[in-house]
């Protein structure tokens, strides 16, 4: 079913798709929910994403019970808001991530950090976004680009972006200077941007 881990995908295995070379995307499952309220698709999505969402919230500091509640809540939102999903415009995992991100704000009572002050310059030089690229096709490029980055850069990206550790804590955890963390994050993101742009 999924292009990445067909042999480990419950739905692929269950339906024998990965064996027959049938490759679809999780997007189809969300569309099936939107159009037909398809519970089998929901079940497959749940089995794949809920355990990962639980990991996501655990890494953000939620307790085991809260992480699981939030994972349930995200999947329930996927069921209820599937009609908002635009296949082609958004990749399934990106869409689910953005739901997870919002529920985190709604429910996870963590200390909120103030937003960073926007720079005075009109267009920060470091950003050269790829124009007019659809989110869905870009996700594959991001995946490939991430695989092409050095492990140390992927590590800081994961810690700073996904696990929401402040840069200082990352510096302590990796035993490297704070400045190095910041420059690695910046370098990694700009390389990611460049790689995505080049291959688009």
């Amino acid at each position: 079913m999924c292009q990445r881990l067909p042999a480990r995908c419950v739905r692929c295995v269950a339906l024998g798709w990965w064996d027959t070379g049938f490759l679809a995307d999780w997007s189809d499952a969300i569309v099936a929910i939107a159009e037909r309220r398809d519970k089998e698709s929901f079940r497959a999505l749940f089995l794949y994403f809920a355990p990962r969402l639980k990991s996501f919230y655990l890494r953000l500091g939620a307790s085991d019970a809260t992480a699981e509640d939030l994972a349930q809540e995200v999947m329930f939102t996927v069921w209820n808001k599937s009609f908002q999903f635009e296949p082609g415009r958004a990749a399934a995992s990106t869409w689910i991530f953005t739901i997870a991100r919002h529920l985190r704000i709604d429910h996870l009572r963590r200390e909120r950090k103030p937003p960073s002050l926007p720079e005075v310059s009109d267009v920060p030089a470091e950003i050269t976004p790829c124009e007019h690229m659809l989110c869905a096709e870009r996700e594959g490029l991001v995946r490939d680009a991430l695989a092409g980055l050095p492990a140390e850069q992927v590590n800081v990206i994961r810690l700073s972006f996904f696990e929401d550790l402040p840069h200082r804590e990352i510096a302590d955890a990796l035993d490297i200077p704070l400045g190095t963390v910041k420059s690695r994050v910046r370098l990694a993101l700009s390389r990611l941007r460049a790689m995505v742009k080049d291959s688009s």
Partner: protein, 216 residues
């Protein structure tokens, strides 16, 4: 495309979801009209999606799937309608991101300026509101205790630091004191998220504050 944008760090915080709720909304409104920032945030959201798929799964408690399936039948089917936007926003370019928010009734602070609160689902210490000034309206000199984020949704205004038009994102830091003027011939609508109430400098302006205070 607008001329004033959130910083790269601010967009990264938005993409990760680590801004407070009202600030998330302001940045979301910005990305609706700004292709550049939408692409940048989109790239980071893709990164979030990829990392979500790559994270090692954690086993759920027993019966988790059954509980999830059991909830489905009880849920409403199909498109649940969002809150209808209030009529007073007609023709003012209200972004889609506002559609699922609850917008309170507007209060006229002066004959030329109204405020309307945007209520957030979660607990939040910040205040998020829409403010609209008619052409040539003036918001008196006021100061900010914390950080205030503004997205210009319609029209334009100017303050001593410059002129901001539809699509612009403006961040004003503590100890900034400024007065605003609505420029151009159309009304100016802004979405503002502030982590502290504004402090008005002049006596007459406190009337505005009193009215603003009643919003919450």
């Amino acid at each position: 495309m607008s001329g004033h944008h959130p910083s790269a760090d601010c967009l990264a915080d938005y993409a990760r979801g680590s801004l407070r709720e009202g600030a998330m909304l302001v940045v979301a409104c910005h990305t609706e009209t700004c292709e550049r920032c939408r692409q940048e945030a989109g790239l980071l959201e893709n990164l979030g999606g990829v990392l979500l798929e790559e994270v090692a799964p954690t086993a759920l408690s027993s019966g988790a799937l059954q509980r999830a399936m059991a909830r489905l039948d009880a849920s409403p089917s199909g498109a649940a309608a969002g809150h209808a936007l209030p009529r007073f926003l007609d023709g003012l370019g209200a972004p889609r991101a506002l559609a699922d928010k609850t917008i309170g009734s507007r209060r006229w602070a002066t004959p030329n300026i109204w405020f309307a609160p945007v209520r957030m689902a979660g607990e939040t210490a910040s205040r998020t509101y829409l403010v609209c000034g008619r052409s040539n309206a003036r918001i008196p000199l006021h100061a900010h205790g914390g950080l205030e984020l503004t997205q210009v949704l319609w029209g334009s205004f100017s303050d001593p630091s410059g002129t901001y038009a539809r699509g612009d994102f403006v961040a004003v830091r503590e100890d900034t004191q400024h007065a605003l003027f609505v420029t151009g011939s159309s009304p100016c609508l802004c979405l503002i998220d502030s982590d502290t109430p504004m402090r008005l400098a002049s006596y007459t302006a406190r009337l505005l504050q009193t009215l603003l205070g009643q919003l919450y």
